[in-house]
């Protein structure tokens, strides 16, 4: 056995090459083989293979393609977002001569099409149906649950082929065969236990067998009892982190995320928080964070461009990239660490009130100055803070001028909030007084239409006040100019 082979996941190493090697599913096999043999002279141009995970859907497609001389082009259903994608794929399938000069027939395999039913936009679904119509190659899809209402249009154009959950004895039989080929000592009861827990999912059973067998060189009941967990629940964040960090192979790390409660966006934050705790060597740490950083760049590009095909690379980097970063100090991978909840989320919830005040200020400044809120926050707020903490009188006038509330003033002024607020309240008082005076003078001048001496003097006063107002601004500006 070569070194490279040794590192293959057993699910790939022992994948059936011939239809006959596919375990069980005789009915499905017959139906599918018949459909493929007759293609394109079939009532339905696509086939939809459905059934529980790990029961042989993909294996059958690959084995059949192998026997019938098809080249399998595997696509993830989530790649289908836009019409242009379809055209690209169809073109690829149509070009019969491949790079290596062979002119094999193509078969397009779309895995997990039921995933798109849960998505917000169903554009992908339409795209797939379009592809089925125009494709020069047979299209085979797999799904766990094809009965979602939204998948009806897809069911209508597909030959439905059901796969059944594998019986326990068949799973045990395959496990036994692998144990023999790998030269592993296996207890019968241990294999029964693994098969039981797999609930008919052969893929997960083989993965469990490899995890125990490779790690310990034997498969005993006591070992599997301790190590093999039931498959029917997703791993919590702590288990997920442990599984990613301790993964020795890329596929193990990737599997850890796919079995997690965390989606990739959450996993990103958990990894960010805990990489520095798990890895102590500066180089390992930098390597792991670099992988996470690159994964994050891909995620950003996905948002910008809508190209979900990039997701696979992001996931590779944030799982395998992180797991295989511990090169200087590989022991760190298995170190027991008390993982920490992402602090950013805690900090954000703790500072919620402050941030909402800051956002309110930014909104006012943004609309006042015709800029964005983020520009207001990064460019203007720091300078306002500087003003509010060093010149309370002037700050108070700005607060009045652009309409800040007392809470906002407190935020900007910090330790100087008392002074700024005192000035601010004085100004508000003065404004109120002036408004009242103005109203009174209006009333008087309106009531006594012939210019009495009194109203005249009032008018005079108000006009001279206007004059003073102008001088006032200058002097007050000068006054702080002179202050220092």
């Amino acid at each position: 056995m070569t070194d490279r082979e040794a590192k293959l996941p057993w699910v790939i190493k022992y994948r059936p090459k011939r239809i006959a090697e596919v375990v069980d599913q005789e009915e499905a096999k017959a139906k599918f083989v018949e459909w493929l043999r007759r293609w394109p002279n079939v009532p339905k141009r696509a086939a939809l293979l459905y059934g529980p995970p790990g029961c042989g859907k993909t294996s059958l497609v690959e084995a059949a393609a192998n026997e019938f001389g098809y080249e399998v082009i595997e696509m993830n259903a989530s790649d289908f977002r836009r019409k242009t994608d379809i055209e690209r794929i169809a073109k690829r399938a149509a070009t019969t001569a491949s790079l290596f000069g062979t002119s094999k027939k193509k078969l397009i395999l779309l895995d997990e099409v039921d995933g798109i039913a849960g998505r917000e936009d169903l554009g992908g679904l339409e795209a797939i149906i379009q592809l089925i119509k125009i494709s020069p190659s047979p299209i085979v899809m797999t799904a766990n649950d094809p009965w979602d209402q939204r998948l009806k249009p897809l069911r209508d154009v597909s030959e439905l082929i059901q796969f059944k959950r594998l019986p326990k004895r068949d799973v045990v039989r395959v496990l036994k065969m692998i144990c023999q080929k790998e030269g592993l000592v296996c207890e019968e009861q241990a294999l029964e236990y693994i098969a039981e827990r797999s609930e008919g999912d052969l893929r997960s059973a083989i993965n469990d067998l490899q995890a125990v067998g490779e790690g310990y060189g034997k498969v005993t009941l006591s070992l599997v009892r301790e190590l093999v967990k039931p498959r029917d629940r997703e791993h919590d964040p702590f288990e997920t982190l442990r599984n990613i960090f301790s993964a020795r192979y890329a596929w193990q790390a990737k599997l850890a995320l796919s079995q997690s409660q965390l989606d990739y966006d959450q996993a990103k934050l958990w990894l960010l928080e805990n990489i520095p705790l798990q890895y102590t060597d500066p180089e390992d740490r930098a390597r792991a964070l670099e992988a996470l950083s690159k994964a994050d760049v891909y995620l950003g590009r996905i948002i910008r461009t809508g190209d979900w095909g990039l997701l696979a690379y992001a996931i590779d980097l944030m799982t395998a990239g992180v797991a295989l970063a511990a090169r200087n100090n590989p022991r760190d991978k298995y170190r027991w660490v008390k993982y920490s909840f992402p602090q950013r989320l805690l900090l954000l919830s703790r500072t919620k009130e402050l941030r909402s005040i800051r956002d309110d200020i930014a909104k006012i400044v943004a609309s006042h100055m015709h800029i964005s809120m983020s520009q207001a926050k990064s460019e203007v707020l720091p300078l306002l803070m500087a003003i509010f903490r060093s010149n309370p009188e002037y700050a108070a006038r700005i607060a009045v001028g652009i309409g800040l509330s007392e809470k906002m003033i407190e935020y900007l002024a910090g330790p100087a909030k008392g002074e700024v607020l005192a000035h601010y309240r004085k100004l508000k008082e003065a404004i109120k007084k002036e408004a009242e005076e103005r109203a009174v003078s209006k009333m008087i001048s309106g009531a006594a239409s012939p210019a009495t001496t009194e109203s005249k003097s009032l008018q005079q006063r108000s006009s001279s006040k206007r004059k003073r107002k102008k001088e006032g601004t200058t002097t007050s500006l000068l006054s702080f100019a002179k202050k220092k």
Partner: protein, 329 residues
């Protein structure tokens, strides 16, 4: 609005030119826009150029000259980075475009700032809006990076490229404002403001106002307000990271981002400044390495990555470098 005695505005707004005639630079652009005013007709416009070069000012002045003092009635101002998603923009534009045109106005204007922050999909939707309502509504798109605007939109717009302001233009404007405000200002201080703002007029005026609030506009005051606005934590973060105190550096960074709300790009800019400050005692080659790291991280953030993840990765690289050069606190 209360009288001037009681209230003060932000100078960048207070002294914003109101009409195209008041604009002193970007002469070529102004000349072409005046033609639009004269003919009372214009295509969709795309204003592109660095921040603080007068794109928004020019757009508002154009609206003012087209519609007079009532211009606000005929202009819908949106900021793409504030309006969440194209759905909001679509609804607002639709509502605005549908309302009836008053007899004497040939069209209304939608002013969309920071349009380059929109995703490609959102821009496609925007393109459709521009076509749908072209009879009644013209769009002015404003962007820092025109290359981030999709081709079909660019080809539907008359593109105007704004160039960074010349030093004498910025300085003379700052001087003029000081005269209006009766504030004493020193020439060397204005030079420093220009250096810090590097051709961004709005930033320059903001710094001027904050410095003036300390008294005269002197070099010391300029540095003081800029220093107040840029906390010393950034230097400490770099030093901690270089000294291998990674976790401490990370925690400080996080507090800075959450408490001050400073964006990743701004922290990077300040880091960049610190790297070349004489106060940071490191070999000269290390400054170049650090600049390289910082630049790469800024690039990634611009690409749309997460601030905290990117900056944390940067700190890890700094720690490695610190170990190599034997940095201690």
């Amino acid at each position: 609005m209360s009288s001037e005695k009681f209230a003060e505005l932000l100078w960048a707004e207070k002294y914003r030119p109101r009409s195209l005639k008041e604009l002193v630079n970007q002469e070529e652009i102004v000349k072409r826009l005046m033609k639009f005013v004269e003919e009372k007709n214009m295509p969709h416009l795309l204003f592109a150029g660095p921040p603080g070069t007068g794109k928004t000012t020019t757009a508002l002045a154009l609206a003012h000259d087209l519609y007079g003092d009532e211009w606000r009635k005929y202009v819908l101002e949106l900021n793409a980075s504030d309006e969440r998603g194209i759905a909001v923009i679509r609804t607002k534009v639709k509502e605005f475009a549908r309302s009836k045109l008053p007899g004497d106005v040939p069209f209304k204007i939608v002013l969309l700032d920071e349009a380059d922050n929109m995703t490609a999909d959102a821009q496609q939707a925007l393109r459709r809006l521009m076509e749908m309502y072209v009879e009644t509504t013209r769009f002015i798109l404003i962007a820092n990076y025109p290359s981030k605007i999709i081709e079909p939109i660019q080809s539907r717009c008359a593109v105007f490229r704004f160039t960074p302001l010349k030093k004498e233009d910025v300085v003379s404007r700052l001087k003029w404002i000081c005269q209006q405000e009766n504030v004493v200002c020193h020439d060397d201080a204005l030079d420093v403001i220009y250096e810090i703002a590097s051709g961004d007029m709005r930033k320059a005026i903001n710094i001027l106002q904050a410095a003036a609030a300390l008294g005269e506009v002197t070099v010391a005051h300029v540095y003081k307000v800029v220093g107040l606005a840029h906390p010393k934590e950034v230097r400490e973060i770099i030093q901690l990271a270089l000294a291998g105190k990674f976790i401490e550096a990370r925690d400080k960074l996080r507090t800075l981002m959450v408490n001050y709300g400073i964006s990743g790009t701004d922290i990077l800019k300040q880091m960049h400044r610190e790297v070349f400050s004489a106060d940071l005692k490191i070999p000269e080659e290390a400054r170049v390495d650090l600049a390289d790291y910082i630049g790469e991280i800024q690039f990634r953030i611009v690409e749309g990555a997460d601030d905290e993840i990117q900056l944390t990765a940067l700190l890890a690289k700094m720690s490695l470098l610190g170990k190599k050069i034997g940095f201690t606190l």
